[in-house]
Protein backbone atom coordinates (compact mmCIF):
# COMPACT_ATOMS: atom_id res chain seq x y z
CA UNK A 1 0.00 0.00 0.00
CA UNK A 2 1.41 3.38 -0.98
CA UNK A 3 1.99 6.04 1.66
CA UNK A 4 -0.35 9.00 1.90
CA UNK A 5 1.05 12.56 2.00
CA UNK A 6 -0.86 15.75 2.82
CA UNK A 7 0.35 18.91 1.08
CA UNK A 8 -0.87 22.24 2.47
CA UNK A 9 -0.23 25.40 0.46
CA UNK A 10 -2.31 28.41 -0.53
CA UNK A 11 -0.56 28.49 -3.91
CA UNK A 12 -2.43 26.23 -6.32
CA UNK A 13 0.62 25.92 -8.57
CA UNK A 14 2.88 24.78 -5.71
CA UNK A 15 0.25 22.23 -4.66
CA UNK A 16 0.13 21.05 -8.25
CA UNK A 17 3.93 20.74 -8.45
CA UNK A 18 4.21 18.90 -5.13
CA UNK A 19 1.36 16.57 -6.07
CA UNK A 20 2.92 15.93 -9.48
CA UNK A 21 6.31 15.13 -7.92
CA UNK A 22 4.88 12.85 -5.24
CA UNK A 23 2.49 10.99 -7.53
CA UNK A 24 5.34 10.36 -9.98
CA UNK A 25 7.15 8.68 -7.09
CA UNK A 26 4.11 6.55 -6.27
CA UNK A 27 2.69 8.34 -3.23
CA UNK A 28 -0.99 9.06 -2.60
CA UNK A 29 -1.50 12.79 -2.21
CA UNK A 30 -4.15 14.86 -0.42
CA UNK A 31 -4.25 18.64 -0.89
CA UNK A 32 -5.34 21.49 1.40
CA UNK A 33 -5.46 25.24 0.69
CA UNK A 34 -4.71 26.63 4.16
CA UNK A 35 -3.99 25.70 7.75
CA UNK A 36 -7.63 25.19 8.68
CA UNK A 37 -8.29 22.80 5.82
CA UNK A 38 -4.89 21.19 6.43
CA UNK A 39 -5.74 20.50 10.07
CA UNK A 40 -9.14 19.06 9.10
CA UNK A 41 -7.58 16.79 6.49
CA UNK A 42 -4.78 15.75 8.85
CA UNK A 43 -7.54 14.48 11.17
CA UNK A 44 -9.79 12.92 8.54
CA UNK A 45 -7.22 11.50 6.11
CA UNK A 46 -4.53 10.46 8.65
CA UNK A 47 -1.62 11.02 6.26
CA UNK A 48 1.77 9.39 6.84
CA UNK A 49 3.56 12.71 6.22
CA UNK A 50 2.57 16.38 6.00
CA UNK A 51 4.20 19.06 3.85
CA UNK A 52 3.06 22.57 4.67
CA UNK A 53 3.69 26.17 3.67
CA UNK A 54 4.32 28.79 6.36
CA UNK A 55 2.39 31.89 5.31
CA UNK A 56 -1.20 31.03 4.52
CA UNK A 57 -4.57 32.69 5.07
CA UNK A 58 -6.91 31.63 7.92
CA UNK A 59 -4.20 29.62 9.74
CA UNK A 60 -0.47 29.70 9.12
CA UNK A 61 1.73 26.64 8.93
CA UNK A 62 3.25 26.93 12.41
CA UNK A 63 -0.15 27.22 14.11
CA UNK A 64 -1.35 24.28 12.06
CA UNK A 65 1.64 22.17 13.16
CA UNK A 66 0.96 23.03 16.80
CA UNK A 67 -2.66 21.92 16.41
CA UNK A 68 -1.71 18.78 14.49
CA UNK A 69 0.82 17.80 17.16
CA UNK A 70 -1.93 17.87 19.76
CA UNK A 71 -3.61 15.00 17.94
CA UNK A 72 -2.45 11.72 19.44
CA UNK A 73 -2.39 10.08 16.00
CA UNK A 74 0.05 12.71 14.69
CA UNK A 75 2.51 12.99 17.57
CA UNK A 76 5.20 11.29 15.50
CA UNK A 77 4.02 12.07 11.98
CA UNK A 78 6.85 13.72 10.01
CA UNK A 79 5.95 17.31 9.10
CA UNK A 80 8.04 19.25 6.59
CA UNK A 81 7.81 23.00 6.10
CA UNK A 82 8.01 24.04 2.45
CA UNK A 83 8.25 27.81 2.33
CA UNK A 84 9.98 30.81 0.80
CA UNK A 85 10.87 31.91 4.33
CA UNK A 86 14.51 31.25 5.25
CA UNK A 87 14.82 33.32 8.42
CA UNK A 88 16.56 31.41 11.22
CA UNK A 89 14.19 32.68 13.91
CA UNK A 90 11.23 31.41 11.89
CA UNK A 91 12.98 28.07 11.44
CA UNK A 92 13.51 27.69 15.16
CA UNK A 93 9.88 28.70 15.70
CA UNK A 94 8.87 25.92 13.31
CA UNK A 95 11.14 23.45 15.07
CA UNK A 96 9.65 24.34 18.44
CA UNK A 97 6.15 23.93 17.02
CA UNK A 98 7.05 20.37 16.02
CA UNK A 99 8.24 20.54 12.41
CA UNK A 100 10.50 17.68 11.31
CA UNK A 101 12.27 19.61 8.57
CA UNK A 102 12.39 22.88 6.65
CA UNK A 103 12.70 23.14 2.89
CA UNK A 104 13.13 26.56 1.28
CA UNK A 105 11.33 27.12 -2.01
CA UNK A 106 11.99 26.68 -4.85
CA UNK A 107 12.26 23.00 -4.09
CA UNK A 108 14.10 20.49 -6.23
CA UNK A 109 11.70 17.57 -6.83
CA UNK A 110 14.47 14.97 -6.48
CA UNK A 111 15.71 16.51 -3.25
CA UNK A 112 12.17 16.66 -1.92
CA UNK A 113 11.75 12.95 -2.63
CA UNK A 114 15.08 12.19 -0.95
CA UNK A 115 14.08 14.12 2.18
CA UNK A 116 10.71 12.36 2.24
CA UNK A 117 12.38 8.96 1.89
CA UNK A 118 14.64 9.89 4.80
CA UNK A 119 11.91 10.97 7.21
CA UNK A 120 9.21 8.55 6.12
CA UNK A 121 9.95 5.00 7.25
CA UNK A 122 9.32 2.40 4.55
Amino acid sequence: MSKKILTVDDSASIRQMVTFTLKQAGYDVVEAEDGVEGLAKAKSETPHLIITDLNMPNMNGIDMIKSVRQESSHKFTPILMLTTESDDSKKSEGKQAGATGWIVKPFNPEQLLKVIAKVLPA
Partner: protein, 462 residues
Protein backbone atom coordinates in the same frame (compact mmCIF):
# COMPACT_ATOMS: atom_id res chain seq x y z
CA UNK B 1 -2.33 63.03 12.24
CA UNK B 2 -5.81 62.47 13.57
CA UNK B 3 -8.74 64.57 12.40
CA UNK B 4 -12.46 63.97 12.59
CA UNK B 5 -15.63 65.59 11.33
CA UNK B 6 -16.36 67.21 14.68
CA UNK B 7 -12.99 68.90 14.62
CA UNK B 8 -13.66 70.10 11.09
CA UNK B 9 -16.98 71.62 12.17
CA UNK B 10 -15.30 73.23 15.17
CA UNK B 11 -12.72 74.97 13.03
CA UNK B 12 -14.19 78.39 13.51
CA UNK B 13 -11.52 80.81 12.54
CA UNK B 14 -9.92 81.15 9.13
CA UNK B 15 -6.29 81.02 10.38
CA UNK B 16 -7.03 77.76 12.19
CA UNK B 17 -8.70 76.30 9.12
CA UNK B 18 -5.79 77.41 6.98
CA UNK B 19 -3.32 75.89 9.38
CA UNK B 20 -5.21 72.59 9.57
CA UNK B 21 -5.56 72.37 5.80
CA UNK B 22 -1.90 73.15 5.36
CA UNK B 23 -1.04 70.29 7.67
CA UNK B 24 -3.49 68.01 5.83
CA UNK B 25 -2.08 69.05 2.48
CA UNK B 26 1.51 68.55 3.64
CA UNK B 27 0.53 65.15 5.05
CA UNK B 28 -1.04 63.98 1.78
CA UNK B 29 1.62 65.56 -0.40
CA UNK B 30 4.41 63.97 1.65
CA UNK B 31 2.64 60.60 1.71
CA UNK B 32 1.77 60.42 -1.96
CA UNK B 33 4.43 62.67 -3.40
CA UNK B 34 1.93 64.71 -5.38
CA UNK B 35 3.56 68.14 -5.49
CA UNK B 36 2.68 68.46 -9.14
CA UNK B 37 -1.02 68.60 -8.30
CA UNK B 38 -0.76 71.71 -6.04
CA UNK B 39 -2.02 74.67 -8.06
CA UNK B 40 0.09 77.80 -8.40
CA UNK B 41 -1.51 81.18 -7.80
CA UNK B 42 -0.32 83.48 -10.55
CA UNK B 43 -1.06 87.12 -11.39
CA UNK B 44 -1.88 88.34 -7.86
CA UNK B 45 1.14 90.68 -7.81
CA UNK B 46 -0.45 92.75 -10.64
CA UNK B 47 -3.60 93.48 -8.59
CA UNK B 48 -2.36 96.23 -6.24
CA UNK B 49 -0.84 98.79 -8.76
CA UNK B 50 -4.10 98.57 -10.71
CA UNK B 51 -6.13 99.20 -7.57
CA UNK B 52 -4.00 102.24 -6.57
CA UNK B 53 -4.43 103.74 -10.06
CA UNK B 54 -8.24 103.21 -9.77
CA UNK B 55 -8.31 104.83 -6.26
CA UNK B 56 -6.24 107.81 -7.44
CA UNK B 57 -8.55 108.33 -10.45
CA UNK B 58 -11.62 108.10 -8.13
CA UNK B 59 -10.08 110.64 -5.66
CA UNK B 60 -9.17 113.09 -8.40
CA UNK B 61 -12.73 112.81 -9.75
CA UNK B 62 -14.22 113.44 -6.28
CA UNK B 63 -11.83 116.39 -5.69
CA UNK B 64 -12.73 118.18 -8.91
CA UNK B 65 -16.48 117.33 -8.94
CA UNK B 66 -17.30 117.66 -5.21
CA UNK B 67 -14.40 120.06 -4.38
CA UNK B 68 -13.56 118.14 -1.21
CA UNK B 69 -10.64 119.31 0.96
CA UNK B 70 -7.37 117.34 0.66
CA UNK B 71 -7.57 116.08 4.24
CA UNK B 72 -10.99 114.49 3.59
CA UNK B 73 -9.64 112.89 0.45
CA UNK B 74 -6.69 111.42 2.34
CA UNK B 75 -9.04 110.01 4.97
CA UNK B 76 -11.25 108.45 2.28
CA UNK B 77 -8.19 107.01 0.48
CA UNK B 78 -6.81 105.58 3.71
CA UNK B 79 -10.19 104.09 4.56
CA UNK B 80 -10.57 102.48 1.12
CA UNK B 81 -7.03 101.06 1.25
CA UNK B 82 -7.64 99.71 4.75
CA UNK B 83 -10.88 98.08 3.60
CA UNK B 84 -9.16 96.52 0.59
CA UNK B 85 -6.33 95.23 2.74
CA UNK B 86 -8.74 93.56 5.14
CA UNK B 87 -10.81 92.22 2.27
CA UNK B 88 -7.77 90.81 0.49
CA UNK B 89 -6.42 89.32 3.62
CA UNK B 90 -9.67 87.47 4.24
CA UNK B 91 -10.30 86.69 0.59
CA UNK B 92 -6.83 85.41 -0.14
CA UNK B 93 -6.76 83.32 2.98
CA UNK B 94 -10.19 81.88 2.39
CA UNK B 95 -9.75 81.43 -1.32
CA UNK B 96 -6.38 79.65 -0.97
CA UNK B 97 -7.71 77.30 1.68
CA UNK B 98 -10.79 76.56 -0.33
CA UNK B 99 -8.68 75.76 -3.37
CA UNK B 100 -6.40 73.54 -1.36
CA UNK B 101 -9.29 71.80 0.30
CA UNK B 102 -11.01 71.22 -3.03
CA UNK B 103 -7.78 69.97 -4.53
CA UNK B 104 -7.06 67.67 -1.63
CA UNK B 105 -10.56 66.23 -1.72
CA UNK B 106 -10.22 65.64 -5.47
CA UNK B 107 -6.85 63.98 -4.98
CA UNK B 108 -8.17 61.84 -2.17
CA UNK B 109 -11.15 60.85 -4.28
CA UNK B 110 -8.83 60.10 -7.19
CA UNK B 111 -6.17 58.15 -5.36
CA UNK B 112 -8.44 56.13 -3.12
CA UNK B 113 -9.70 54.82 -6.43
CA UNK B 114 -6.40 54.65 -8.30
CA UNK B 115 -4.69 52.72 -5.50
CA UNK B 116 -7.54 50.18 -5.48
CA UNK B 117 -7.28 49.89 -9.25
CA UNK B 118 -3.53 49.31 -8.97
CA UNK B 119 -4.06 46.76 -6.22
CA UNK B 120 -6.67 44.89 -8.29
CA UNK B 121 -4.48 45.06 -11.39
CA UNK B 122 -1.57 43.64 -9.38
CA UNK B 123 -3.73 40.84 -8.01
CA UNK B 124 -4.98 40.14 -11.52
CA UNK B 125 -1.40 39.81 -12.74
CA UNK B 126 -0.62 37.40 -9.90
CA UNK B 127 -3.73 35.32 -10.58
CA UNK B 128 -3.24 35.25 -14.34
CA UNK B 129 0.36 34.18 -13.85
CA UNK B 130 -0.72 31.42 -11.48
CA UNK B 131 -3.33 30.19 -13.97
CA UNK B 132 -0.74 30.22 -16.76
CA UNK B 133 1.81 28.34 -14.64
CA UNK B 134 -0.81 25.75 -13.70
CA UNK B 135 -1.51 25.27 -17.40
CA UNK B 136 2.19 24.86 -18.13
CA UNK B 137 2.63 22.39 -15.28
CA UNK B 138 -0.38 20.47 -16.56
CA UNK B 139 1.27 20.23 -19.97
CA UNK B 140 4.53 19.07 -18.40
CA UNK B 141 2.66 16.47 -16.39
CA UNK B 142 1.25 15.14 -19.66
CA UNK B 143 4.76 15.08 -21.16
CA UNK B 144 6.09 13.31 -18.06
CA UNK B 145 3.33 10.70 -18.35
CA UNK B 146 4.12 10.18 -22.02
CA UNK B 147 7.84 9.92 -21.24
CA UNK B 148 7.19 7.31 -18.56
CA UNK B 149 5.02 5.36 -21.00
CA UNK B 150 7.75 5.70 -23.64
CA UNK B 151 10.37 4.39 -21.21
CA UNK B 152 8.16 1.40 -20.44
CA UNK B 153 7.71 0.67 -24.14
CA UNK B 154 11.47 0.92 -24.69
CA UNK B 155 12.23 -1.44 -21.83
CA UNK B 156 9.69 -3.96 -23.16
CA UNK B 157 11.18 -3.64 -26.66
CA UNK B 158 14.68 -4.24 -25.30
CA UNK B 159 13.45 -7.34 -23.47
CA UNK B 160 11.65 -8.54 -26.59
CA UNK B 161 14.77 -8.00 -28.71
CA UNK B 162 16.89 -10.01 -26.31
CA UNK B 163 14.78 -13.18 -26.50
CA UNK B 164 13.20 -15.33 -29.23
CA UNK B 165 10.27 -17.63 -28.48
CA UNK B 166 10.04 -20.91 -30.39
CA UNK B 167 7.30 -23.40 -29.48
CA UNK B 168 6.76 -21.66 -26.12
CA UNK B 169 10.44 -21.89 -25.31
CA UNK B 170 12.46 -18.71 -24.79
CA UNK B 171 15.94 -18.43 -26.23
CA UNK B 172 18.41 -15.60 -25.91
CA UNK B 173 18.88 -13.99 -29.31
CA UNK B 174 22.61 -14.73 -29.28
CA UNK B 175 22.03 -18.40 -28.47
CA UNK B 176 19.32 -18.55 -31.12
CA UNK B 177 21.69 -17.22 -33.78
CA UNK B 178 24.40 -19.69 -32.75
CA UNK B 179 21.84 -22.50 -32.84
CA UNK B 180 20.79 -21.57 -36.42
CA UNK B 181 24.42 -21.54 -37.48
CA UNK B 182 24.85 -25.04 -35.97
CA UNK B 183 21.74 -26.31 -37.72
CA UNK B 184 22.93 -24.94 -41.06
CA UNK B 185 26.30 -26.62 -40.64
CA UNK B 186 24.58 -29.91 -39.78
CA UNK B 187 22.39 -29.66 -42.89
CA UNK B 188 25.40 -29.00 -45.11
CA UNK B 189 27.36 -31.85 -43.53
CA UNK B 190 24.34 -34.15 -44.04
CA UNK B 191 24.14 -33.15 -47.71
CA UNK B 192 27.84 -33.82 -48.22
CA UNK B 193 27.47 -37.23 -46.53
CA UNK B 194 24.46 -38.04 -48.71
CA UNK B 195 26.44 -37.05 -51.80
CA UNK B 196 29.36 -39.24 -50.77
CA UNK B 197 27.01 -42.15 -50.03
CA UNK B 198 25.37 -41.74 -53.40
CA UNK B 199 28.73 -42.15 -55.09
CA UNK B 200 29.19 -45.42 -53.23
CA UNK B 201 25.65 -46.48 -54.15
CA UNK B 202 26.41 -45.66 -57.80
CA UNK B 203 29.52 -47.84 -57.63
CA UNK B 204 27.50 -50.65 -56.07
CA UNK B 205 24.89 -50.35 -58.82
CA UNK B 206 27.65 -50.55 -61.42
CA UNK B 207 28.86 -53.71 -59.72
CA UNK B 208 25.33 -55.10 -59.63
CA UNK B 209 24.90 -54.34 -63.30
CA UNK B 210 28.08 -56.23 -64.05
CA UNK B 211 26.87 -59.15 -61.97
CA UNK B 212 23.55 -59.00 -63.80
CA UNK B 213 25.47 -59.41 -67.08
CA UNK B 214 27.14 -62.55 -65.68
CA UNK B 215 23.76 -63.90 -64.65
CA UNK B 216 22.50 -63.07 -68.11
CA UNK B 217 25.35 -65.09 -69.60
CA UNK B 218 24.62 -67.98 -67.25
CA UNK B 219 20.97 -67.89 -68.25
CA UNK B 220 22.08 -68.08 -71.92
CA UNK B 221 24.07 -71.17 -71.11
CA UNK B 222 21.13 -72.67 -69.22
CA UNK B 223 18.93 -71.90 -72.23
CA UNK B 224 21.46 -73.66 -74.48
CA UNK B 225 21.46 -76.66 -72.12
CA UNK B 226 17.68 -76.70 -72.14
CA UNK B 227 17.56 -76.65 -75.91
CA UNK B 228 20.20 -79.39 -76.11
CA UNK B 229 18.31 -81.42 -73.54
CA UNK B 230 15.10 -80.99 -75.53
CA UNK B 231 16.93 -82.05 -78.70
CA UNK B 232 18.36 -85.05 -76.88
CA UNK B 233 14.89 -85.91 -75.59
CA UNK B 234 13.55 -85.72 -79.14
CA UNK B 235 16.31 -87.97 -80.40
CA UNK B 236 15.73 -90.34 -77.53
CA UNK B 237 12.02 -90.43 -78.37
CA UNK B 238 12.82 -91.24 -82.01
CA UNK B 239 15.19 -93.95 -80.93
CA UNK B 240 12.61 -95.29 -78.50
CA UNK B 241 10.00 -95.39 -81.25
CA UNK B 242 12.36 -97.40 -83.32
CA UNK B 243 12.94 -99.85 -80.58
CA UNK B 244 9.22 -100.54 -80.64
CA UNK B 245 7.73 -102.31 -77.68
CA UNK B 246 11.09 -102.38 -75.93
CA UNK B 247 11.61 -98.69 -76.26
CA UNK B 248 8.19 -97.78 -74.81
CA UNK B 249 9.58 -97.22 -71.31
CA UNK B 250 12.42 -95.15 -72.67
CA UNK B 251 9.87 -93.18 -74.67
CA UNK B 252 8.21 -92.11 -71.43
CA UNK B 253 11.57 -91.08 -69.98
CA UNK B 254 12.47 -89.18 -73.14
CA UNK B 255 9.11 -87.41 -73.08
CA UNK B 256 9.56 -86.39 -69.43
CA UNK B 257 13.09 -85.13 -70.19
CA UNK B 258 11.64 -83.09 -73.07
CA UNK B 259 8.96 -81.62 -70.78
CA UNK B 260 11.61 -80.85 -68.19
CA UNK B 261 13.72 -79.15 -70.80
CA UNK B 262 10.68 -77.19 -71.95
CA UNK B 263 9.85 -76.14 -68.36
CA UNK B 264 13.45 -75.17 -67.80
CA UNK B 265 13.36 -73.09 -70.95
CA UNK B 266 10.18 -71.31 -69.78
CA UNK B 267 11.70 -70.68 -66.35
CA UNK B 268 14.82 -69.38 -67.97
CA UNK B 269 12.71 -67.05 -70.07
CA UNK B 270 10.96 -65.68 -66.99
CA UNK B 271 14.31 -65.17 -65.23
CA UNK B 272 15.52 -63.39 -68.31
CA UNK B 273 12.53 -61.04 -68.27
CA UNK B 274 12.93 -60.27 -64.52
CA UNK B 275 16.64 -59.78 -64.91
CA UNK B 276 16.04 -57.36 -67.77
CA UNK B 277 13.62 -55.41 -65.51
CA UNK B 278 16.22 -55.33 -62.72
CA UNK B 279 18.86 -54.16 -65.12
CA UNK B 280 16.63 -51.40 -66.45
CA UNK B 281 15.77 -50.31 -62.86
CA UNK B 282 19.41 -50.31 -61.91
CA UNK B 283 20.21 -48.24 -64.99
CA UNK B 284 17.56 -45.65 -64.09
CA UNK B 285 18.72 -45.53 -60.46
CA UNK B 286 22.26 -45.18 -61.64
CA UNK B 287 21.26 -42.26 -63.84
CA UNK B 288 19.40 -40.52 -60.98
CA UNK B 289 22.20 -41.12 -58.51
CA UNK B 290 24.68 -39.91 -61.11
CA UNK B 291 22.57 -36.74 -61.37
CA UNK B 292 22.65 -36.31 -57.58
CA UNK B 293 26.33 -37.11 -57.39
CA UNK B 294 27.16 -34.76 -60.22
CA UNK B 295 25.06 -31.99 -58.64
CA UNK B 296 27.32 -29.04 -57.72
CA UNK B 297 27.08 -28.24 -53.99
CA UNK B 298 28.91 -24.92 -54.33
CA UNK B 299 25.74 -22.76 -54.71
CA UNK B 300 24.35 -24.49 -51.65
CA UNK B 301 27.49 -23.70 -49.68
CA UNK B 302 27.36 -20.11 -50.93
CA UNK B 303 23.71 -19.89 -49.83
CA UNK B 304 24.65 -21.26 -46.47
CA UNK B 305 27.36 -18.60 -46.16
CA UNK B 306 24.86 -15.93 -47.22
CA UNK B 307 22.36 -17.10 -44.63
CA UNK B 308 25.10 -17.02 -42.02
CA UNK B 309 26.07 -13.51 -43.05
CA UNK B 310 22.43 -12.45 -43.07
CA UNK B 311 21.90 -13.81 -39.57
CA UNK B 312 25.12 -12.23 -38.33
CA UNK B 313 24.03 -8.88 -39.79
CA UNK B 314 20.64 -9.27 -38.19
CA UNK B 315 22.38 -9.93 -34.91
CA UNK B 316 24.58 -6.86 -35.34
CA UNK B 317 21.54 -4.77 -36.29
CA UNK B 318 19.80 -6.04 -33.20
CA UNK B 319 22.79 -4.93 -31.16
CA UNK B 320 22.67 -1.50 -32.82
CA UNK B 321 18.92 -1.25 -32.22
CA UNK B 322 19.48 -2.21 -28.60
CA UNK B 323 22.09 0.52 -28.27
CA UNK B 324 19.68 3.02 -29.82
CA UNK B 325 16.91 1.90 -27.52
CA UNK B 326 19.18 2.23 -24.52
CA UNK B 327 20.09 5.69 -25.74
CA UNK B 328 16.37 6.49 -26.10
CA UNK B 329 15.80 5.22 -22.57
CA UNK B 330 18.56 7.52 -21.34
CA UNK B 331 16.97 10.40 -23.25
CA UNK B 332 13.64 9.64 -21.58
CA UNK B 333 15.33 9.73 -18.20
CA UNK B 334 16.97 13.03 -19.13
CA UNK B 335 13.57 14.39 -20.17
CA UNK B 336 12.17 13.40 -16.78
CA UNK B 337 15.12 15.13 -15.12
CA UNK B 338 14.55 18.23 -17.26
CA UNK B 339 10.90 18.26 -16.29
CA UNK B 340 11.93 18.14 -12.64
CA UNK B 341 14.27 21.09 -13.28
CA UNK B 342 11.47 22.98 -15.02
CA UNK B 343 9.16 22.29 -12.08
CA UNK B 344 11.80 23.84 -9.84
CA UNK B 345 12.26 26.84 -12.12
CA UNK B 346 8.51 27.43 -12.42
CA UNK B 347 8.31 28.01 -8.69
CA UNK B 348 9.45 31.57 -9.39
CA UNK B 349 5.74 32.18 -9.80
CA UNK B 350 5.09 31.47 -6.11
CA UNK B 351 7.76 33.95 -5.08
CA UNK B 352 6.54 36.54 -7.57
CA UNK B 353 2.94 36.11 -6.44
CA UNK B 354 3.96 36.72 -2.86
CA UNK B 355 5.93 39.80 -3.89
CA UNK B 356 2.96 41.10 -5.87
CA UNK B 357 0.71 40.50 -2.87
CA UNK B 358 3.18 42.49 -0.80
CA UNK B 359 2.63 45.37 -3.23
CA UNK B 360 -1.14 44.93 -3.60
CA UNK B 361 -1.94 44.61 0.10
CA UNK B 362 -0.29 47.90 1.19
CA UNK B 363 -2.03 49.61 -1.74
CA UNK B 364 -5.37 48.47 -0.32
CA UNK B 365 -4.28 49.69 3.09
CA UNK B 366 -3.36 53.08 1.61
CA UNK B 367 -6.75 53.20 -0.13
CA UNK B 368 -8.46 52.42 3.16
CA UNK B 369 -6.55 55.22 4.89
CA UNK B 370 -7.59 57.55 2.10
CA UNK B 371 -11.19 56.42 2.58
CA UNK B 372 -10.88 57.58 6.20
CA UNK B 373 -9.44 60.92 5.08
CA UNK B 374 -12.19 61.26 2.49
CA UNK B 375 -14.92 60.60 5.05
CA UNK B 376 -13.67 63.60 7.01
CA UNK B 377 -14.45 66.01 4.22
CA UNK B 378 -17.79 67.79 4.33
CA UNK B 379 -20.52 66.64 1.97
CA UNK B 380 -19.78 69.43 -0.49
CA UNK B 381 -16.23 68.21 -0.93
CA UNK B 382 -17.21 64.56 -0.89
CA UNK B 383 -19.20 65.25 -4.03
CA UNK B 384 -16.06 66.31 -5.84
CA UNK B 385 -15.40 64.17 -8.89
CA UNK B 386 -11.99 62.48 -9.12
CA UNK B 387 -9.25 63.86 -11.30
CA UNK B 388 -10.54 62.38 -14.52
CA UNK B 389 -7.57 63.56 -16.53
CA UNK B 390 -5.26 61.69 -14.23
CA UNK B 391 -7.42 58.54 -14.27
CA UNK B 392 -7.64 58.78 -18.03
CA UNK B 393 -3.88 59.03 -18.20
CA UNK B 394 -3.55 55.95 -15.97
CA UNK B 395 -6.11 54.06 -18.07
CA UNK B 396 -4.39 54.97 -21.32
CA UNK B 397 -1.33 52.97 -20.22
CA UNK B 398 -3.26 49.71 -20.25
CA UNK B 399 -2.81 47.54 -23.32
CA UNK B 400 -5.16 44.67 -22.53
CA UNK B 401 -8.92 44.50 -22.48
CA UNK B 402 -9.00 42.84 -19.05
CA UNK B 403 -7.01 45.75 -17.59
CA UNK B 404 -9.28 48.29 -19.25
CA UNK B 405 -12.40 46.46 -18.10
CA UNK B 406 -11.18 46.48 -14.51
CA UNK B 407 -10.30 50.17 -14.77
CA UNK B 408 -13.69 51.02 -16.27
CA UNK B 409 -15.46 48.94 -13.63
CA UNK B 410 -13.87 51.02 -10.88
CA UNK B 411 -14.70 54.31 -12.61
CA UNK B 412 -18.33 53.28 -13.12
CA UNK B 413 -18.87 53.73 -9.36
CA UNK B 414 -18.89 57.50 -9.77
CA UNK B 415 -22.50 58.48 -10.48
CA UNK B 416 -22.33 62.24 -9.97
CA UNK B 417 -21.22 63.09 -13.46
CA UNK B 418 -21.74 59.91 -15.43
CA UNK B 419 -21.23 61.69 -18.71
CA UNK B 420 -17.73 62.82 -17.79
CA UNK B 421 -16.88 59.37 -16.47
CA UNK B 422 -18.19 57.59 -19.52
CA UNK B 423 -16.26 60.04 -21.69
CA UNK B 424 -13.11 59.25 -19.72
CA UNK B 425 -13.69 55.50 -20.09
CA UNK B 426 -14.45 55.90 -23.78
CA UNK B 427 -11.30 57.96 -24.21
CA UNK B 428 -9.25 55.19 -22.61
CA UNK B 429 -10.82 52.54 -24.80
CA UNK B 430 -10.40 54.63 -27.94
CA UNK B 431 -6.75 55.26 -27.18
CA UNK B 432 -6.11 51.57 -26.77
CA UNK B 433 -8.26 50.29 -29.60
CA UNK B 434 -6.00 52.15 -32.02
CA UNK B 435 -3.12 50.07 -30.74
CA UNK B 436 -5.03 46.84 -31.13
CA UNK B 437 -6.24 46.90 -34.66
CA UNK B 438 -5.23 43.28 -34.92
CA UNK B 439 -7.95 42.20 -32.52
CA UNK B 440 -9.98 39.44 -34.14
CA UNK B 441 -13.38 40.85 -33.28
CA UNK B 442 -15.95 42.48 -35.49
CA UNK B 443 -18.37 45.07 -34.09
CA UNK B 444 -20.52 44.97 -37.19
CA UNK B 445 -21.50 41.82 -39.08
CA UNK B 446 -18.30 40.07 -40.15
CA UNK B 447 -16.97 41.24 -43.49
CA UNK B 448 -15.34 38.95 -46.01
CA UNK B 449 -11.57 39.04 -45.50
CA UNK B 450 -9.68 41.48 -47.67
CA UNK B 451 -6.43 40.44 -49.31
CA UNK B 452 -6.69 36.87 -47.98
CA UNK B 453 -7.04 38.15 -44.43
CA UNK B 454 -7.82 35.25 -42.11
CA UNK B 455 -8.84 35.18 -38.49
CA UNK B 456 -8.02 32.23 -36.29
CA UNK B 457 -8.05 32.94 -32.55
CA UNK B 458 -4.79 34.88 -32.20
CA UNK B 459 -3.66 34.92 -35.81
CA UNK B 460 -4.56 37.42 -38.45
CA UNK B 461 -2.97 37.64 -41.88
CA UNK B 462 -3.11 40.80 -43.89
Amino acid sequence: MNINSKELKDWGTIPMLSNKLKNLKDFIISKFNIHSFVPEEKGEHLLWPLRIIIILVMCLTLKYTLTLPLSALLVIISFIIALLLVNDFLLIKYSSSEKQLARVSTLTQTHRKSTRILSDQTNNVANEMETAIQGIIGQFMTIAGQTASQSGTILNTVKAAETVTVENENFKTEEFVQSIEGMLNEIIQMLVWISDSMIEVADDIDLLKKKGKAIDDAIGEIDFISKQTELLALNAAIEAARAGEHGRGFMVVADEVRKLAHTSSNFNERIQIELTGINEGLSRSHEKIAEVVNKDLTPLLLSKNKIQMFINNLFLQKETILELLESAATESQNTSQNIFNIVQELQFQDRLKQQLEHIADPLVEIATEMDVIFEHFDKRHQKMTPDLEFLKEVGSRYTMQTERDLHANHLSEFKEKPEEISNAVAAVNNTISKDEDDDCLFDSPPQPPKNKKTCDDNIELF
